[in-house]
Each structure stands twice: as C-alpha cells, then as structure tokens.
Subunit: 411 residues, 2 copies
C-alpha cells in the first residue's frame, strides 16, 4: 500500500476560475463575513465605482446577494452583501483516528445535514473512505437538490498532509494511508467536485478562524491535545503550513531530555509525555501500582484500557494521583507553549481535542506553565483558552476549507 | 528617562501616497527586483494593458526606468524595469550594542557612502543618536545632492521595538532608551523624512531577504548569536513581527531547566547559556580554574575580559575546553532551533551575529542539534548555514527598510 504515487494533481482542478478582482472580493468576504460596498472598497484599495461593478457582476452570477443592513445611515438603510446560500453546496469531513464527522453545508456555510460515527483509520483507506462516501451520499439524499449543487469537499485527516497532492505523508498511526490517492478515490463518486485534503489540526484552526474565537485574530495557535499533540497556526488571518506542510508539529518538541522514548524514536517528546495516550498509559501504571485508588477501582470494575477521560473522572472524584497526572501533562504542554510564545508571539492560544475536556485544572496548569516561562512583553496581551467550538471546530473548518476552494483566481 | 510617552505617530507620516495599484507594482518590485511588464501582469493578476499604463505612469513620475534586458525574445530585446536610482536617497542605520554602521544609498539600494564606528548604547539615546546624526550628515556631505533627495531613514536597534511608535520596549541592555522618541529626535535634523525603527535582528533578516541568501525564500529564520540571542522571522516573504512585536525572542526559551538564572529572572534561558556573553563568562571561569591552559595564558598576558572571540581562537589553537564550550553552546542552540523547526517548518535557517565567526565547529554542532531532534519531514529540505552577508546584513536591511517606507498605498 505504500507504493502509491499518483501524478501530482492541482487541487483546483474542478474549481471555477474567477477574474482576479472578483476573486479578491470573494476571498475577503470569506475572511470578514457580511460587508458593505464601502467596506470592500476600503479594504481592497479599489474605487467605489470598481467595487460597485464587481459586486453587480457577482450578484448576476448568483455568488453574492444583497441583504438589509441594521444600521440606517443618513435616513437610508445601509445595504450589506452576503454569499447567496443557494449558489452551491459543499461537504466538510473531519476524520479523526477513531471517529468521523461529516457536514453538508450551503454556500454561506450553514450546515444542512450532519452525521458522525466511530471509525478506525487503521482499517485502511479503502473501507474508511468507502464509509465516508456512503455517509456523504446519505446526507445529500436528505437535502433535495444538494447533490447537483455540490461543488467541493474539504477533508481533514489525522496526520501530516502533502497539501498540493492531497495525500498523507508518513502517517504514524495510519498504516496503508501513506500517499494513498484520497482525492481521486472521493471523485469516483463525486466527479467534478474539488477535493481538498488538510491536516486535522489545520482545519480546526480554520474553523476557529472563520466562525469561532479566532475570528478577526491575526496570529494565533490552535493546539489539539488528543491521542497525539499538534498545532494549527494562523498567520495574518491565514493557515500557515510551513515549507513542507509540517508546521505545527509541536508534539515532537522535547519536553524533557530525561523523558521516555517516543514512537518517533526521539527522547522526551511532548506527545510521549503529555498526550491522551501518554495519560492513558500513566493511568494504567497508577492503577496497577495502587498509587491511584480510584483508577484501580475502575480497572477492577472491568474498565480496560483506561483512558485520559478516566483520569479526568478520577481527578474530579478527588484522586490525588490522577490530579497530579493532569497537572504534569499541563505543565509540560505549558513549557513547550512558552517557547512557542517567545518565538511566535501570538495573541491567542486555543486548546482543543479530547483531552481538553479533562477539567479546568488542565487549562490552569497550561496557563501557569506559559506565563512562568515567557517574557511579559509576549504575554501581556495573550489569551489562553479552551476552544469554545470544541468538537465542532473540525467539521466547521472542513466546510470552510471546501468553501474556500470553489473558486480560483485567474487573470 | 523612563517616562517618555510621546503621542503615537504613524510611521508613514512623511511617506508619499501612491494609488493602490501603483503601490502594488512598487512593492512587488522591491521583493522581486528587476521585472518585465509581463512578469508584473502575471504576478499581480492584472491585464497587460493595465500594467502598461501603471508602468508608464511610474516612469513619468521618475520612480521606475526601463533597462535593456539580456534575453532576446522573437528577435526583439526584452525590456526590463528597474527602480530609477536617482529618484531618492535613503539612510540605513544598523545600531548594535557596541557599534553603529550607517549607509547612504540611492533609490535602487546601491550604497553611495558608508561609515561604521564603535558606540556604547548604554551612554543613552541623546549622545548616541546625536552621533548617528553627525555621521549621517558627513555621509550626505560626501555625495552631492543626496541631502535634498533624502526621503527616509531605516534604523535597527538592539532591543524589542514597538514598531508602530518607533520606540524601544523594556530594552534590557539599554538604560534610558525605553520609549525614547527616536523618530522625532532624528527628524529634528532631517525633517520631512520618514523614520522607521525596527529590531536589529529583523533588519538582518530583511537584508538577507532582499539581497542575500533569503532572496526568494518564503519562510526562513535568521538567528543572531551575539551578546544576546534573537531571531528574525520571514513568513511568506515578509518580516513577521508577531502580535506585539516581540516574535523571534528565542534567547529566552528554556534550554536547560537546571541551567543558570538569566538576567530576565527565568532559569536556563538559551541566552544565559549559549550567547556571546555566556561564552565570555564561561571562558573566564575556564581560565581562572586552570581547565583551559590557552585561555589562562590569554588572561595571564593581560587580556581581560575574555570574550567569545578568545574562545574561538583558543579552540583553533587546540584547546580542548574551549572547543567543548563552543560545542555546548552550539548543541543548546540546536536544541532550541529543533523546536523552532518542528513548529515553524522553515526551509532555511541563517546563523549570524558576532559569535557566528567562532569557527565551523559551532555551525556543525547547531546542525547536529537540530537534525537529531526534528522529524525527517521537517528537515528533508532544510538548509542551516552561516549568514553569507555577515556583518553587512544589518545595514543592508536598514536600507531596505527605509526604501520600503518611502511610499504608502492609498485609494
């Protein structure tokens, strides 16, 4: 399965080409939401007349529509522009290691139908993507006309992505997926749609950027603490992927030079010491050694294997060892994020992923870890919070990814 | 002296407003250098006719000029566009903690006159900036007409900068400079020039970006190892300053949790363990304790205090302890940069600053430190090199900074 290497295929293959200036209007509105013609002229550095012409054309094409504004200016009601919801539909797929969440949305990003269920990516690409396609078809069947209007599909996958090719690079927990041609596989069922594949943490960051706590924030970091640990980076209001698409791989920054060996072969990686799987392993140890009476109870009652969630439950129930495990994890993550803050100087760090639900003490120790190790100049305007979108960030971002690839700018 | 807080003054105060599309042409040419009309049309997504009109106007204004191209296409010689060198002059000032380097350049960035000499920023802003102005005046006196043509001045300073205000924030080694109004002070002598102040490491990165090894590189990091340690970050071909202007402060990332206390109050900061001043301190220790015979010899011969340069000289002369000091410094820097590589995924890291001249072993251990701790996906296309511009990066970047602020885009 590791020998797939399809010819490189541009991601915009089926995207509609818009003249460059029209495209700039569409792109800006994706970032900013509802705007007036005056806002557009100012932001794009175009004359009011140019914008009026472009907007008329975009309305004629069915891409934009006028909506009534709330503010009356000089007796006249300001008219605002929004995307025409009926112009197209898209699919957003948030694929985790153990579950998939799929949404069908209109051109404005409103979710029309949604479904999630457990999967196991280790089953390999054929059965997993087969199931994704089935779910997508059932969602489309629930919304009349949505199949004909389908223009693009955004997919988040739990591993490093070659964004140009839409394939996974050396996915550590996904045997069989390396360089598997995801895009053509999906296009067998949905021909003439643009399929865009990105890393799951990047789409979570994109979800927060477009519709969550990251809206209007120039530079921020979304940290997913789940089975592994990774970060999505936003620079200047756009996802930053780095030179080879592996930016944000904070799970393999060294947290402790005397730490355990990571599955990557290095020593003391953050992921090996503070992720959900590390917590699960530490929980089994604590239960078996008797250090944690409550975790030992869970194990005795037949719960196995223990997970990060059990650590959270035990800590809530007053288990001292479980609380220490959470605080150690938070402190290590905070220490690595302190370095990120010194280097990157973001104004916001959002913590998401399954382990973010382990309790408020986790966030508190992360914050403490960052603040104790960063310079005041970098932290005076820094917010560190749990992702308010929670489990919705991924699928929201996958829909946003799809929406952003319906068009491509041209001359 | 710490109570200065002048009203905020926009950096473009004296910059000439160019219509937005003209401005986009100028900006792109600053980034790319000599271009044809066809290149401009393609890169800007404008029609050939639009570009031809804009270029004609820019030539009429004296901003651009046509130059003969080398390649003949279809029998015709391609005509290329360049900046008109005579349109304006600028000054670039690279102020270090102990020296200043000032260049007078034409609108194309060619250096017309240059001078550097030792200074001590601890003398405070009035005498230091007074001397900068004197040097600038003497350079201008050497080039007839350059004073009348002077449009902007770019200044790099060795501390964290509030870029919008052109002032220093809490400069650890610069008493008296905090929030000192540098811009108005310079404008007393050079009224109607735009004065732009930036961090010294940012201007070094800008120098490499515009005229050095960073030319055409999208994402890279310039690391200055001198008295302190800091980084200039380039994202998408532009200097990245972060949310509050403190991005790149890698000197205060923890390199060893059991390390010494840093002047910032934290423990085991990279700067406290691996900078030029750390090496100097370690050299004194090694000389006084007798661990390093050659450094002890230097000290006995009256050299005091020992510096990082002496460590380099001792290592070259075969001193084992001096070599170990260099390798420990390189390993610590490499370890911190490994984290930067995992997070930021640059394709290039340039090492500059005074300590970069300590020998090739230093670079070798930095490289080893990065490669041993980063994932292959992040390092397969990563180059780590000494800055080839060396001492010229700062002043070249200061000139580039000045050139980029002659104009401002408008509607």
């Amino acid at each position: 399965m590791n020998t797939h290497s399809p010819p490189q295929q541009a991601i915009h293959h089926f995207s509609e080409a818009l003249p460059e200036q029209h495209y700039r209007v569409v792109r800006l509105m994706r970032a900013r939401g509802v705007m007036s013609r005056g806002d557009l002229a100012q932001q794009l550095g175009m004359s009011r007349a140019t914008v009026t012409g472009l907007v008329k054309d975009l309305i004629d094409r069915g891409i934009l529509q006028e909506i009534a504004g709330g503010r009356a200016t000089g007796g006249r009601r300001a008219r605002f522009l929004d995307f025409n919801p009926d112009f197209a539909t898209v699919l957003g797929v948030d694929m985790g290691a153990t579950s998939v969440d799929i949404a069908l949305a209109n051109f404005r990003g409103d979710v029309l139908a949604r479904h999630n269920e457990p999967i196991d990516v280790r089953d390999g690409p054929e059965p997993v993507l087969g199931r994704v396609v089935e779910i997508a078809q059932s969602l489309i069947a629930r919304v009349p006309g949505s199949g004909e209007a389908l223009r693009s599909i955004g997919i988040g996958v739990p591993g490093p992505v070659d964004f140009a090719n839409g394939t996974l690079n050396v996915p550590p927990i996904m045997p069989g997926w390396e360089r598997y041609p995801i895009r053509p596989k999906i296009q067998e069922t949905f021909p003439h749609t643009t399929v865009v594949v990105d890393n799951d943490v990047n789409i979570m960051a994109l979800g927060e950027l477009r519709a969550g706590a990251g809206k209007g924030v120039d530079h921020f970091v979304f940290v997913k603490v789940g089975t592994g640990i990774g970060a999505g980076i936003v620079v200047g209001g756009e996802i930053y992927r780095g030179s080879t698409g592996s930016a944000g791989d904070i799970g393999h920054i060294q947290a402790d030079r005397n730490g355990p060996v990571c599955h990557c072969g290095n020593i003391g990686c953050l992921e090996a010491m503070a992720s959900g799987s590390a917590l699960a392993r530490q929980a089994m140890d604590a239960a078996q050694s008797g250090r944690s009476p409550i975790l030992a109870q869970y194990l005795a009652s037949g719960v196995s294997p223990l997970t990060a969630e059990h650590v959270g439950a035990a800590a809530s129930a007053g288990d001292q060892t479980a609380m220490e495990l959470i605080m150690t994890s938070g402190t290590l993550i905070g220490g690595v994020l302190a370095g990120v803050v010194n280097f990157f100087n973001p104004s916001l760090i959002l913590i998401g992923g399954g382990v973010a639900q382990i309790g408020t003490q986790f966030l508190a120790t992360i914050r403490r870890g960052v603040l104790s190790r960063s310079l005041p100049l970098s932290t005076q305007h820094l917010r560190i919070d749990y992702s308010p979108m929670g489990e919705d960030a991924g699928v929201t971002g996958a829909v946003a990814l799809a929406l952003e690839h319906i068009f491509v700018g041209s001359l």
